[in-house]
Amino acid sequence: MRKAFAITSNVERFVGAMENLLRRDSGVPGMALLYGDPGLGKTRTSIWWALKNDGVFIRTKKVMTARWLLEEIVAELGEAPMFRTADLFRQIEDKLMERPRTIIVDEIDYFDARMIETLRDIHDVSGAPVVLIGMGQAEKKLMRYKHLFDRLSEIIRFSDLTLKDIATIGDQLCEVALTEDAISFIYSDTTRFRKLIVWLYRAEMFANANGREKVTSADLEKVKR
């Protein structure tokens, strides 16, 4: 199996949205929402993107307050958090003015109105893109905050793997070729990444053991457990 970050249609849409966000015209709001069911790679994709694009990733906690969130952002921007909330906010503003970075905030499902408004304020004063990551109901939840929802210029929903994704991931990661019927066979069994990797591994094992260059659905049927 090749060791690489698989570029699925979810990842492509996220990267496209982030490019739009970074290249937006002045006056266009720079906030985005990424949401979807657990296990679809939202966090892993956003961390991968943040590492390659000098982003800042904030993982929130259930008991987090707005002040705690500000402290986390200041620390993540490489500063020692000051005591007063007003100073924390100013620290963030100064750091982002000096070096504009995208702030990605994970698990916003825990957030209350005050925290949501705090992120909106950070975006408004610094102009730094802010990406919110939430679960399946995040979009509906944010609709309640009209000021914020209007600023979401990109909304990306992560969904299960498609047939095309499975073919693409097979090409990118699997060291043997999969026939079209093999791809359909895998698709009928799973649309989740973790299980797909197991299928690709089985295909490679079968090909190695039987000296094959291509694996078909009939071959996969034999190694199905």
């Binding site: 966090t43 943040a50 490489g78």
Partner: protein
């Protein structure tokens, strides 16, 4: 971000990770990451908290960050080895700040052949 910063940020942001996830997400050189993981483990920054099964059925360690000191990545620096005496001198693995308990300090000279 330098590769070292990427690796350290990945570890801090994910908290729990496997070597595979680290290589795949950061794209770092396997040998460099292995050295860094070994050093971080030795210095008490990360520890193995579980194992997970690979698709091949082997067990691989899951690491967890237990000492997050901040955004600046700890760096691997060269040590000095004296083949005459077998002594190895390495930089301190923990800060020697005033007031740090003696039990948390590590000796500067960390190995001898005798």
């Amino acid at each position: 971000m330098t590769m070292n910063e990427q690796v350290w940020s990945f570890i801090r942001w994910t908290k729990r990770f496997t070597r595979e996830e680290l290589f795949v997400t950061t794209g770092c050189e396997r040998a460099n990451a292995n050295h860094l993981i070994a050093a971080l483990k030795m210095a008490g920054y990360i520890k193995v908290t579980a194992t997970e099964r690979t698709p091949a059925g082997q067990r691989r360690p899951v690491y967890e960050l237990v000492r997050d000191t901040g955004v600046k990545p700890p760096r691997l620096v060269r040590s000095l080895y004296d083949p005459n005496t077998g002594e190895i001198f390495t930089p301190d693995l923990e800060p020697q700040a005033p007031g740090l308990p003696e039990s948390r300090r590590r000796p500067r000279k960390c190995g001898s052949r005798s």
